[in-house]
Symmetry: C2
Subunit: 300 residues, 2 copies
């Protein structure tokens, strides 16, 4: 399972029952929360997402529509007596804000909150099954994107062929990892003779808030899915640039140049109640575009 569930898709001001930025990436049995606008904890309840499986939170930048819901979520986890540690990856300034909010409430968290300040591009999380890298985007204040990569999946053993070559099943794990088999009498069976490749490892790039920046296409090269903001519609390039945001065609162009498998479009302006123009404009440039609709889970 590798998927993203949208909890909030609106920019700055909540409107039309659209919420500020937040999304859950599910990878195997882990949930990663990326951004946490106001109301995220209510959205988690609404879509029946289990907080207990959430051990990593990533905050792209310190504009309120990307983090004002975090302290409420952390507080509720405390009230629910969470004990397992929680990793928070965010710009450094957030640590002091959280500390101050806990202090005025005379609250001590019953779990360990491990703060990882984002300060340079690179690998920030590495587990057996996936990794997360961060990269900087161009926004009014320091802003970070996240690239979640599934680890390369093991090969599949063709059991009929393995049996025909008299390979004991105890060797299947090493075959899955790509090793050749050598029998007691020294006969070598090459790995490719008895295995097939599994589906390639998938990847998801969350490009946060950003002005149009072709570097992002390099960073997200060949990802399975890219999330790119499209605060504004085409024709509003000046406004987008002035506010360090992007338009639909700009987002779609990045997806195209990245050779992404799919594009997820979000961070819609409160100016627009209807979203179909966002979709229409983007698919003209990059056909495999979907709108980041709240409550929807997109398989990566």
């Amino acid at each position: 399972m590798f998927a993203v569930t949208i909890l909030g898709n609106n920019s700055a001001i909540p409107a039309y029952d659209r919420h500020p930025s937040a999304q859950i990436v599910t990878i195997n049995d882990q949930l990663l929360l990326i951004d946490c606008g106001e109301g995220t904890q209510m959205q988690l309840s609404r879509y029946k997402i289990k907080r207990g499986k959430l051990n990593h939170i990533f905050i792209s930048h310190l504009h309120g529509d990307h983090y004002f819901g975090l302290i409420g979520l952390l507080s509720s986890m405390a009230l629910l007596n969470r004990e397992q540690p929680l990793h928070l990856f965010a710009p450094a300034g957030l640590e002091e804000i959280i500390a101050l909010q806990l202090k005025v409430a005379s609250t001590t968290l019953p779990y360990e909150l491990i703060f990882h300040p984002l300060d340079k591009a690179g690998l920030i999380l590495d587990t057996a099954k996936f990794s997360v890298e961060t990269f900087q985007t161009q926004h009014r204040i320091p802003c970070w994107g996240f690239l979640v990569r599934e680890k390369k999946l093991p090969k599949k053993v063709d059991k009929d062929k393995a049996v025909a070559h008299h390979i004991p099943s105890a060797f299947y794990p090493s075959l899955k990892m790509g090793y050749d088999y050598t029998s007691k009498d020294g006969t070598v069976v090459y790995n490719d003779e008895v295995t097939t490749d599994n589906s390639p490892a998938r990847s998801y790039a969350y490009c946060a808030d950003t002005i149009y920046d072709e570097n992002l296409a390099d960073i997200a090269k060949n990802v399975t899915m890219i999330y790119h903001e499209a605060t504004y519609l085409n024709g509003m390039e000046d406004r987008a640039a002035a506010r360090f945001h992007s338009t639909t065609a700009q987002a779609a162009t990045i997806a195209l140049k990245a050779n992404a498998g799919g594009l997820l479009l979000g961070h819609f302006s409160s100016k627009f109640e209807e979203l179909h123009d966002y979709l229409k404009e983007a698919i003209d440039v990059f056909p495999n575009t979907q709108l980041a609709i709240e409550g929807v889970t997109f398989r990566i």
Copy 2:
């Protein structure tokens, strides 16, 4: 118009689509926001309450379920280019938190935020038509209640009688204020002969979060309506006391001792999906009790 509209009625953890504490007191054409839990700005939109008429915000204490929605509301007002000043009455610690959150976002509010730290009981706002006093409640951290009083309404002039006494209409304003009329020839018409009293001035006491404290009954003596928290049901007195909260019967007893006109019950525990037991238990002690249901406007 003197009324209170409930935006949030739940304690600590949002549940069952119930939101953390927030309510709007409407008095004449002014809106007062009392407490501002997470999601308050969405609740204002949901119930179509005009933010432009909101010039005074009161925060009882710095537990998150009473203020985590404030920074989002302040930020949205900024994005909507609010220009008129906004008065914020809250415990002192909140000022630094807001300043820090604006700093990390490189944001300057386009309106003046006038911070009034709550540090002693007494009058904190006095206008031509109403006043607000604050008082301390007994909670785990410093906590403040608010008493909103309508100013005494002017008397009504009985026009038939005033005309019969040959009183020029230019004197009606002074009659409304209780003055006698003296004609050019020195004849005195006593005020009571030509006026009647208007309805008495109404009042609303918001008792915030509190342990059972009979002092509150003195503070809220004879109010038209008292809001008192009832986090827990009867039989949970120990838990209530340990957490500095109250039960239904305790809340109702305060209303009874205060000789309040009505009781509004709120701050319900997330333990209970259904609220009817709260009402049933309270009306056994104080019949004129209502549950603070979200979206409902109660006339005071």
